[in-house]
Amino acid sequence: MSNNESGALARFGVTDRDIEQALGRVKVSAVDYADLYFEYCQSESVSMEEGIVKRATKSVGQGVGVRATAGEKTGFAYSDELTPKDLNIAADTARYIANSVQGTAPVPVTHRPALVRNLYPHDRATIEVATRDRVTLLNAIDAEARRYDPRIKNVMAAYNTEYKVMLVATSDGLMVGDIQPLSRLQVTCIAEENGNRQVGTFGGGGRIGLDYFQNDQRYLRFAREAAREAILNLSAVDAPAGVMPVVLGGGWPGILLHEAIGHGLEADFNRKKTSAFSNLMGKKVASDVCTIVDDGTLPFRRGSLNVDDEGTPTSRTVLIEKGILRGYITDKLNARLMGIPVTGNGRRESYQSVVLPRMTNTFMLAGESDPQDIIKSVKKGLYAVSFGGGQVDITNGKFVFSASEAYLIEDGKITRPVKGATLIGSGPDILKQVSMVGHDLKLDEGIGTCGKEGQSVPVGVGLPTIRIDEITVGGTKA
């Protein structure tokens, strides 16, 4: 099946006429823009614990979301029934914000661009893997983690896949569909020694299928990494507390950019002037060595999309260029209200949620420093290579993210592992503290899920090794 609208349309059992009439009903003169978003999503999960694969779940859902925007207002309704009658009810509800009687002239949907590229071509069979193949994979992970070290006492692993078909038809006359596969493998190990119990996790995935995990026995590497982190944490000492230099390793520590910078540059917060970054466009917000982009066009990446949920092709948006704030992350509504370009970042969790400007894959471009030199430059500080979640208060700019694997740096050398600690800083200030950027840009393994207004969407991050001269580390040791 190709990633285009004709296949999708057939799946939803709606006709061009149904769509054009519903759009006509909602797109009255007081409405600036309207769209219908059809979605079919099938997700499957198989999980293992205590050495047996005991849970298998499957979920199927489909529906349509109808949205109308008028000025700053948004009217939204959704239905899990796709009959013309249900489409019309949703259209009438969405139109409520325009205080207007229903439109009668259908909106012709004539612009049906073929996708210019397919970032994640796939064989459906590799996404909808037979349960027994998933079971085999998880059993092998359990064995590998336990083989890694006898102190590994429990292994939990889950293999989740999602097969989503979307189709969006807009009052601009655009109709575009896409098939968006998503797979993720997550391993958690618990290690125990003399009553000391520690946890380690590792996971990854993307818009890929089972073959990705099978290549070079990648799934076994996931098992070893989770086991390694759990064993390492058995010997971790208390983390230090206070302000100190911190070196972040490449890849997933890019969550720093997501929390500290990314959310604050989403257009909705800036249009409403509720972001700590409001009014900083063109200003210096980072040191010269920092260039940060949001790029939804990376093949097979978890955060990538051929088109966003408003039918706009995704793009590479420069957010910060050599320290200067250059761009916002936009959807159609906020781009129109702010008079700035649409960047293809209009995303929604499902047909049940409204479109918001959201990140795709956010990362810092590689610099020129040697990663070893960066570590050597620190007399006393922290080297953090893996993180759990993070969070930001958009308005005052304060963000946190929590290390799950970190080490002390003493006299330029990595010494002991330390227990997890939360790092806290201020978004508009923290990147001014970045004094060295490594040449080793790495993207994360494909594990990130971003939450905003209760909606979760898959995202990616990336980072080269960087040195932050000063950041507050929330350990327990004075």
Binding site: M156, G474, T476
Partner: protein, 452 residues
Amino acid sequence: MTRMIGEQDYTTVAQDLLARASKQGATAADVMVADGETLSVQVRMGAVDRLTKAREKRMGLRVFFGQRSASASTSDFSRDSLDRFVQEICALAQAVVEDPVSGLPERGQLATEFPELHIHDATKLQTDEQIALALRAERAAFAADSRITNSEGGECDSSSGRIILANSHGFLGQYANSSFSLSVSPIASDAAGMQRDYWYGVNRTFAKLESPEAIGQEATRRTVRKLGARKVATCRVPVIFDPEVAGSLLSHLCSALSGYALYKGASFLIGQLGQQIAPDFVTIYDDGRMPGGLGTRPFDGEGLPTRKQAVVERGRLMSYLLDTYSGKKLGLPSTGNAARSIGESPSAGPTNFYMVPGTTRPEDILASVKQGLYVTDLIGFGINMVTGDYSRGASGFWIENGELAYPVEEITIASNLKQMYSTMETIGSDLVFRGRIASPTVKIAEMMVAGN
């Protein structure tokens, strides 16, 4: 409580599904159907920002083939689709491994009485009424202080729904519930920058929802007091959690007490049943039958009756939170705490979970601290459930000589949850239910504060 809120009788759909599963060879099954409708109104700067209206339904089925089991859910209730749905899940169940502990609860454990619990209010709000409430809350926030210069908006939501649970032991239960909520999030600014906070009310009965004016004024009080916040030096001091953030400490306790976390070895409370985990003035209840409670329901996600039980009594851990499966893994009976998402196997979680208030007024707790931290907000996920290690971003107020001296931000507080519970020093008298989990003000003897 059992009145119908939809036009279709989903109990027959549920029973039909059980029959189909049995025909496919399933030895046992249970099915959960939920339907509901929601109207959500968001306003911002005195105008409507977003209206969302939806009606939805979803059905989840779990089947057993001996001791193999699988779960699935769908929103497509058409006859043809249901046939395929049942076939697929039966195939799925036969592909997984036998789990000797799996199965439905015993017939005799299932709920047989369904008392009125006051969790459904049939009040239907019109869109314009909800818009007016949200606008009043936002207007009250602006009117309360001239330093409120912007707003993330006000929101008024109403929802009602129905849950039906049936299983192959012949259990059939249903209940309806409703929820009404109102919140506002003002932004205050001064030369130093912006601060945002929010306040909210939520109730199952519309008439009991706090007034928009009270919510708006409280939101503003909480917001403007943050202006001028600064960092403090790294230090080890007593920390007071206001009721909102103290509730998060109870949430972490719930996670650690979940039977699933315990049998997997992923909880810092393993082996602590019957042990002293907090001082003797700490008592914590889980009460699934509290009239009108946001966590109240007549039966749990497996059909067992809910109840009121002491989880911690005078500092001693008296009970875990268990469903049938996790209970069996630990050699204990279910505590009626099966939580269930449609189409998932049960998990274990709290109903209405609260700490019994003490006798000390919050201002007297404050007065007991010479130098310390009063926390009103926490961010981040720096909690390790396996070890109890705790490190989160915080903001609030610096306490000097028993009084709030100035607002603080960009600091972290760190300790270990075991340590925090065992060194609770005072429990406030100010318990208010504003969610399923509620706590009075709590003072902890000492934590590490990281700042400058």
